[in-house]
Amino acid sequence: MALDRLLNVARKEFSDHITSRRFVIILGLLLVISTISIYDGIENYNNSLEAYTEQLRQMEEFDDPYRNWMPQKPSIMYVFISMMSYMTMLGGILAIAIGFDLVSKEKETRSLKSLLSHPVYRDEIINGKALGGIGALGFAMALALAIAIAMLLLFSVVPTAEEFAAILVFGAVSLGFLLAYFAVALTMSTVAKESGNALIYTLVIFFAVSSLLPMFGAMAANAFAGDPPEPPEMGPMPKGVVRTSSSGGYSTTTVAQSVVYGGTEDPEWKAYEEEMKTYIEKRRLISDISNLLSPQMNYYTVAIAVTNPQLSSMIASPYDTAPEEKPGLAGALGRVWMNIAALIVFPSAFFAATYVKFMRMDIR
């Protein structure tokens, strides 16, 4: 494979994408919504910052009974949380839009035959097409992030080095998510004879992995984990601790119960607690395994780890007490390594399938 031929294909594909009406319209919509939500996010951030400053002022002013408790400074990464929800919808559509007819259109217009009659290998063509698409999606993502950062600076919100790194990681994770659907669309474009069919197949997979799969995961978890353990018949009312967290379309509720009887924990309730914990872990494991196949769920999990590491930490370990220290970006990413790996493996598997199919394609 020669780099100059690969780049020739990639350059042409990239140019085709960024000048196509389809791409420009969807990207425009994405940027407008992005700008509006970033604006809202900045307002929320400023309000949280004001509340934080007020809390600090009050703590200094009064002899606060919770002196050991320090309010948490809001992170500018909260601004990006709202980006997740429309990235999964509009971003997904953008990725599908640029990929679904990449090969099928060439078959329909017979330009593939003309192209292949010149000195270029098939792998250079398909890799060039993939590279051009990745470049166009990277360009869209970079534009969205550049606008977001420009707006932050416009409103005098200056990210720290760590926050800047988190923004870049968020961008990379979002791009990984877009690539997942781009890869699906490219595969379907290679498999299908017509672009219309390629689009339908891609949308079917899109909805299957984004909606059906998590649903089946939950059903499988219920089916395989069995019935939840029964609480002990006698005993004092349990003191329930319910923690609910929600963010940008992703919500989780965890329930922990503990019973104190006569200064020591009731052994029956303790045993029940352990059983319940095991039961919930089992359900989570089944559900998590099925969610690994869903780019949406992986994206949410990783993006939350980047934008809100504390929430991510709570989701990952619902029985642990909240950590004193705010978890770092590296730590948060380390906890979701499987989801990161899944975000890499998913598009890679589809790209590999595309490659094999394209190399063997009948071009009569």
């Binding site: 085709d16 217009t109 330009s111 003309s114 009659s117 000195p119 270029v120 009569r364």
Partner: protein, 301 residues
């Protein structure tokens, strides 16, 4: 320049090309004839390195195509049947995209493209290729096939979408290119088209080469066999007298015209005999079947 050895391509158990042995010399204009579905396009796809043969080998300028398709593509040009282009790009942009694969610098590309667009009368056309008529696409196809100034040119049904003026220009162009020493391989099912430009032909039927040579040689080879007999057509001014010759097998005809079946070409003896009897001969010739009829019969076999 072009050679195939037992070239075979099988699709789903059915041979599209079946043990093809073909040879085309340098500078020849070779017509590859055959009905639709005979395997002409499949053969061209193998010769241009776009598909791999199931069996056998093929060579272009001594290079085995399946082993080194890229180097073959560097010295050939190919105009596919129903040629397609990128509809969002102009003809010039399409050619520029293809030209880049040959490592041409910007200046060379620009000059070559301008020259070719002028050659196919598409210079000054600002339309996108998606808006081209079929004839315009065909002409652009010819330009893209010539972008690398190839040694060998493969043309698959080149006049299919051209109007009469386009056909005339195409014939002139092919003759001009052959004059430059290029080998031209024209695939078509239209005999009249091949007859017009090609010096040698090969007839393909059901994936097999039925005959190869000049048109006359092929027609003779394909003509229905009449043993060793020849048919002599005679037309005279006066009534034909009875003709007596030991070589004559049969005579069919009327007063002034007859077709004589003989064991050998006895035209000299016949004319002498008729002259002695004072009969004026208007016509005397060996009867050969019409080329069109011969090919049509071969197509139907």
């Amino acid at each position: 320049m072009i050679r195939t050895e037992s070239l075979t391509k099988v699709y789903n158990g059915n041979p599209a090309v079946d043990g093809l042995d073909l040879e085309v010399g340098e500078g020849e204009i070779f017509g590859f004839l055959g009905p639709n579905g005979a395997g002409k396009s499949t053969t061209i796809l193998m010769l241009t390195g776009m598909i791999e043969p199931t069996g056998g080998r093929c060579f272009v300028d001594g290079i085995e195509v399946a082993k080194d398709p890229l180097n073959v593509k560097k010295i050939i040009g190919y105009l596919p049947e129903d040629v397609g282009f990128y509809g969002n790009m102009t003809g010039e942009q399409n050619l520029d995209y293809f030209a880049r694969f040959y490592g041409m610098d910007a200046k060379t590309r620009k000059e070559r493209i301008a020259e070719l667009l002028e050659l196919v009368h598409l210079d000054g056309v600002a339309q996108k290729a998606g808006e081209y008529s079929r004839g315009m696409k065909q002409r652009l196809g010819l330009a893209q096939a010539l972008i690398n100034d190839p040694k060998v040119l493969f043309l698959d049904e080149p006049t299919a979408n051209l109007d009469p003026e386009g056909v005339r220009e195409y014939r002139e162009l092919v003759t001009h290119l052959a004059g430059e020493g290029k080998t031209i391989f024209v695939s078509s099912h239209i005999l009249s088209e091949v007859r017009e430009v090609c010096r040698t032909v090969g007839l393909l039927a059901k994936g097999r080469l039925v005959a190869q040579g000049t048109l006359e040689e092929v027609a003779r080879a394909l003509a229905p066999s009449d043993g060793d007999a020849v048919r002599i057509v005679i037309e005279t001014r006066e009534h034909l007298p009875a003709i007596d010759d030991p070589a004559i097998i049969s005579v069919e005809g009327n007063a002034n015209r007859a077709v004589v079946r003989a064991k050998a070409d006895i035209r000299d003896r016949l004319s002498a005999a008729l002259f002695e009897q004072g009969v004026h001969v208007r016509e005397m010739r060996l009867e050969e079947p019409e080329i069109e009829d011969v090919f049509m019969a071969a197509y139907r076999r």
